[in-house]
């Protein structure tokens, strides 16, 4: 007997409800995904410091355990909600729905979701986001985008992080750009260092434009 039913149908329904809700509140939602240690939290610390003055911002941060990242992100004017997945490898739309209800200020300009560090599982779960961002640090292989197409084929932007140490670790920029041309040919690419601040302006300008676009409908 034929069934033909999507296994993640429940997640999709929850994600659709979130998308409706964000549309009504005109909140830009971004879902940041990468392997562990590629600099998601460092990027967000700097991003919040710059966005905080102009926009009402909240962050949902997913981790297997500990609230270390939430503590790092606090103090920049954004509300932070830590989701501890207890070993689960990704965030799903149900966890995000619960986390959103913990955010006191609901009138947000931007909600940033820092997904669990993992290049496979998070890509399968729609969280109702407007933009998916993949992070790739120069300490990882340049070919990560072609090795993990399930993630990189669906991102609107790729942030190449830690470029201040690119030379030291022997990062080949042409190889990385070639891999992105295969796996994510239409993704916007940012090359930056959260530590030195190089390239941060273009990233912040892009996010700010996307926030304005969402407000304008």
């Amino acid at each position: 007997m034929a069934i033909e039913k999507a296994v993640l149908g429940k997640n999709q329904a929850a994600a659709d409800r979130l998308r409706d809700r964000y549309l009504r509140s005109k909140t830009l939602v971004i879902n940041i995904m990468s392997s562990p240690g590629s600099g998601k939290t460092a990027l967000l610390e700097k991003t919040l410091a710059q966005l905080g003055a102009s926009f009402r911002t909240a962050v949902i941060v997913g981790d297997l355990a500990t609230d270390n990242d939430a503590r790092r992100l606090s103090g920049h004017g954004a509300e932070i909600v830590q989701v501890t997945t207890g070993g689960y490898c990704h965030l799903d739309a149900g966890m995000v729905t619960k986390a959103i209800d913990e955010i006191a200020g609901q009138d947000l300009d931007i909600l940033i979701i820092e997904n669990v560090g993992n290049l496979v599982c998070p890509s399968a779960f729609d969280l109702g986001e407007d933009l998916r961002i993949g992070l790739l640090s120069v300490t990882e292989g340049e070919d990560k985008p072609v090795k993990y197409p399930s993630l990189f084929s669906r991102v609107e932007a790729v942030v190449i992080s830690k470029i201040d140490i690119a030379d030291v670790v022997g990062w080949s920029r042409p190889d990385a750009i070639a891999a992105l041309a295969v796996a994510a040919p239409r993704a916007k690419v940012f090359e930056l260092s959260s530590r030195s601040g190089t390239g941060m302006d273009a990233w912040i300008a892009w996010i700010s434009e996307r926030i304005a676009d969402k407000k304008a409908g």
Partner: protein, 111 residues
């Protein structure tokens, strides 16, 4: 590696469908898993053995049809194998991924 969770969802769909059809035992379960779904077929088979044992699908034949990633040119309509949505090699048109993200319960056989 969330195949056990995925298997719980698969079995919930399959068991509901079997019960709605008046069945008391599932003898076969077939799923479709895309190359870009983030699900590893071997891990899913393992999860089936573990999770199904306490359900009406215990002992069922579990079959996974894997789906290769393909891209479709939105201009000339040609489809090609692979997960790279780069410009169409034939006409240079914009390509989209047309297959590979699937994760579906295809069918069951009920006794």
């Amino acid at each position: 590696m969330h195949e056990v969770g995925i298997m719980n969802d698969i079995l919930e769909i399959a068991v509901d469908a079997a019960k709605n059809a008046g069945g008391s035992k599932i003898s076969a379960l077939r799923v479709r898993v895309g190359e870009l779904s983030g699900v590893v077929p071997d891990a899913l088979s393992f999860a089936f053995d573990v999770v199904a044992s306490s359900t009406i699908a215990a002992g069922a034949t579990f079959t996974i049809d894997t789906v290769e990633a393909t891209c479709l040119c939105t201009e000339c309509g040609k489809e090609r194998i692979g997960a790279s949505p780069a410009a169409c090699p034939d006409c240079g048109g914009r390509s989209i991924i047309s297959n590979g993200y699937e994760l579906l319960v295809s069918s069951i056989e009920v006794d």
